[in-house]
Amino acid sequence: MLNQDAKLNQKLLQPDVEQEPLRFGFGRGLVLAGRGDKNVVVLCADLTDSTKVSDFKKEFPERFIEAGIAEQNMASLAAGLAAVGKVPFITSYAMFSPGRNWEQIRTTICYNDVNVKIAGSHAGVSVGPDGATHQATEDIAITRVIPNMTVITPCDSIEAEKATLLAARIRGPVYFRLAREKTPIITTKDSPFEIGKANVLREGKDVVIIACGPLVYNSLLAAEELSKEGIEVAVINNHTIKPMDETTIARFAEQTGAVVTVEEHQISGGMGSAVAEILARNHPVPMEFVGVHDRFGESGEPNELIEHFGMGVKDITEAVKKVISRK
């Protein structure tokens, strides 16, 4: 049963649910952040349109900084700008930032503990036809491991907008993960969104699915199907991977006694691993992990790739049944 307090999209489970890429919400959030704080500046690495920072550039041309195809320099420029009071957002595809410029993010941003926001778009295999070179499936692992970093994975464009605005307001380095393709709108403007607070989207007593990013949608569909078979599954939108909401996660693990994590990311080091780290200490229960299993992506249509790599609705329902059998 859907949690009414989550104030989800009324059309969520209908075939004509609205769809929009996460990066569009990011673009809108950036303009709002720019209006709210004159110190917000945006750096881009030759991808202004596809990361959707074009609207910010249009409204605040003097605060838009083109770094060229030089992500390492971009990260450290931002560290310098932050050191003199600016609130820089660095934007590129996740594969290049935080991929290529990881050490600069680690040392010049996080070790310095300066106020830089890192937006990585085109995350996951759903990038589609561009193929594995452009499909970041390691970004959560490499960002959550760095001290001082906050890591956020919005589930839809509305959450991406909220995450962008909130990132501008909190102090310190933040990484947030965006996707290229249109994905279903799950939440509404009225849905709660607080960094570090997981949202319970669906109640259920048998299993809890802890999901993040656009795959929250597949998780909800899987829960609906399982409900028809008499299996009641709770679904949590675990949008903040660091600092993670240990309380909610441990409580649901205890209530249901079985956990399935769902993410469009490598199983090793990702959101599911972080959940396992928490539960191993607090409340160990059987777990199954839905995600990419130690492989690179490939070209294809987003939906067929999600199925191919084992993150479709059917894969999630199977994982739920498997974890129940291990209870």
């Binding site: 320099n73 560290a79 310098g80 600016k86 600069q104």
Partner: protein, 291 residues
Amino acid sequence: MHLFDEQIKKLEDFANQIRQDVINMLLEAKSGHSAGPLGMADVFTVLYLTDAIKQDPKNPNWEERDRIVLSNGHICPVMYAAMAHAGYFPKEELMTLRKYGSRLQGHPHREKLPGLEISSGPLGSGLSQAAGMAYGFKLDKNQARLPMRQVVCLMGDGELDCGQVWEAVMWAGKNKLDNLTAIIDRNNIQIDGFTEDVMPLEPLRKKFESFGWSVLEIDGHNIKEIYDAIFEARAIFEKPVMIIAHTIPGKGVDFMEFDFTWHGKPPNAEEGKKALDELRSLGGKITSENQ
């Protein structure tokens, strides 16, 4: 804006004292880098003990200060020594270098010691951060709130191997950051050998000029030349300025000079004594210190 002869003499004595501090610190720490810190003692003397850089050691976060950004963090012993003499922290603290609980980390950590603008160690990223700061000040200037602040970035020549340096050089040239000055310690050595053997860098002047920088070349051990170059760099409009400071690695200690094997190691007790004897005798000009 002008140094008189007696001031220069005094600053040279300071530089000599800083070299002795560096040797003493390395002896105590039993690890660290010798050649670079000794070679840059004169430059750091000018940066911290003259009026070349706007700063207030008693108020290290003064908003109107210029920014000294150390990119090649491994030469930090010379920076720490100069900062102590300038009054940023007590000189006794110099002997805690690299020890547990010390504010003087083996490579500088901004959050440990007030007065440090960045943490550094991994080479090649200081110039980018300095360029970001300089650009930030330009944005502030449009808001006409504070006077223009200068950003001075200290770099090694070995780190010019890093691609990121050239990304920053290109970007700063494009953006005409005339409030950015970089000083390269052109000592021709790095860990594996001479820079031109490891990775040829020349012609450096032409390289920077072609990226839209103005280039000054100086004797990096001549106090007056260093001082004048920093002021000249401030006066150059519409271009960032690269000061190539030609230096002798290990300067002041005969057996270390020009020897790349001294890049990354400290002297042992015997070598340290020999080094201090030479520095205290001003290269043999006085003998009383040796007796």
